[in-house]
Amino acid sequence: MAWLARRALHGLFLLLAVSILSFALVELAPGDFFAEMRLDPRVSEATLRALRARHGLDRPLPERYLRWVASLARGELGYSFAYGSPVAPLLWPRARNTLLLTATATAVAWALAIPIGTWWATLRGRAARHLLGGLFALLLALPDIVLALALLLLAVRTGWFPAGGMVSLGHEQLSWSGRVQDVVRHLALPAAALVLAVLPVLVRHVRASMAAVLDAPFVRAARGHGLSETRVLLSHALPAAANPLISLFGLSLAGLLSMSLLVEVVMSWPGLGPLLLEAILARDFYLVLGLVLASTFLLVAGNLLADALLLAADPRIRTGAR
């Protein structure tokens, strides 16, 4: 437990460091939201000065950081100039949607990767192994942009899935179960794009770590005792192969979050990605800052979850032996 607490503390420190780093980055950048207004002849120099003073942009850097931290403490995360509101209320619904998308994709991807990878590791035929290898290499080489666009094409062409968005028109009128169904239908394609993008990586790792374990003496011993093949795989090989896979789980979250940024924009899923793009194009720096922090928070939380899983799965960590 102390180990987990230490990891949590470490995560907090990381978040603090990321906040300082990204704040410095954003503040040291040339120009601000009001710089674009200067080109507008209807806005006078005095108005601009007044606007800057109202939002505290004329203060020295440390004071601005402290003001920003104070707004963090109030749960506002700074002020979005483009939307004219604190950042946090804009952020939370988007973060929830991104979390829904990436969590679904992670769950589905792992649920597919473990059986496929295990099966691949136990395959005997050369031809079948090469076929599977070639298939996943091709899938790995498909850029996620093409993958997302191809799935969108499927939606546009067939009409089986809604093309983009998260809810249909008239979502509010649906019953509770109808609403869930509606969101699931919209979720299917973006989640599929993410799953297909990470699946080849996951499957190859599952196969590698299972293959390493399947040759181990204790597995042969278990077979020699006459245990069934499923029993050998599930209760002897898989737990032993779990440790590197759980570390990969943390890493795969990072990849998924990055990929979801693009997939969300292409499929107009109302997550953090489209908001980030909007904020960049509007030069709304505090919103960018809030989004980066939110994504980091999701990643740190995911890594903490991976650590907790590791603690549950690996007795060496529980007893403190390394």
Binding site: L14, A137, P143, A254, L257
Partner: protein
Amino acid sequence: MALGLAVLATVHLAALGASFLAPYAPGRQNRTLPYASPTRVHVVDGAGHVHLRPFVHALSEAPGPGGAYEEDRSRAFPVRFLVRDDPEPRAPEGRLHLFGVEEPARIFLLGTDGFGRDQLSRLLHGAQISLFAGLLATVLSLATGWLLGTLAGFYGRWLDGIVMRAAEVFLALPWLYLLFAVRAVLPLHVSAGQAFLMLVLVIGLVDWARPARLVRGVVLSARERNYVLAARGFGASDLYLIRRHIAPQTFGLLLTQAALLVPQYILAEVTLSFLGLGVSEPVPSWGNMLAALQRYNVLASYWWMWAPGLALVPVFLAYFSLSEALHARVGPASP
């Protein structure tokens, strides 16, 4: 590995020779021929005669709605090789092209985009930007990572502490978000050349942390080898030790990392340009060419607009086979 290298060599040579291989300049518009499908190259004419020299027909808009085109069968335009196009200030004799046809016919082997620009020419010119942005960013990222990793591993103590803590912070950010955040604070409207340099710098400098950590690991173990200790005992300077004994140990790792990073960075450039944050029109990059597919009608109707996306597949496959071959030869990229 041989096949992978051959594919990469071909693609990069084609990109370098874009202005010769491409029949048209990438910005040349044919406003009357938007979204023309790939030009049909004929060998047999209407009377059933076989021509040794392939020919094309001129296109004109078909009557009726729908933007279809029909061929004007009355006149054939043979495909000519090694043709010169119209003189321009920078090339008074006209530029030499591998192939072309006489006006008013056009040859669009991969069709045209919404402005009637030849997709093949844009694909070749776009490769210059997309492929080389990936390569240059990789060089930059590995150079930064190598320098910081070597310094941290070799001198240890507080320097090691600072570099590794900083690396952890960088790795705690989802990298595309970090990339976008850095891109966010840079000016939005820049010329294509500036955008290219900016992308290379941003992509290369944002991702130094992973190579730095890997290099540090190798340097840490190399530093304690007996021959390094012996050389140090003979009074070798730090610079000499790094140059002669430490650096060569890290080269295998750098090579394997490069094969992994280049496709990732090519994709980063494509993604940024796709979203309008990278190289902007009219200069072609594979990313901003794909951006046309964000409109549903283009996505569903004009398959040749997918060309840049499909061109990425063999390039990526080649890099993956290269990275696997390197992995088997010089050891894993991540120890």
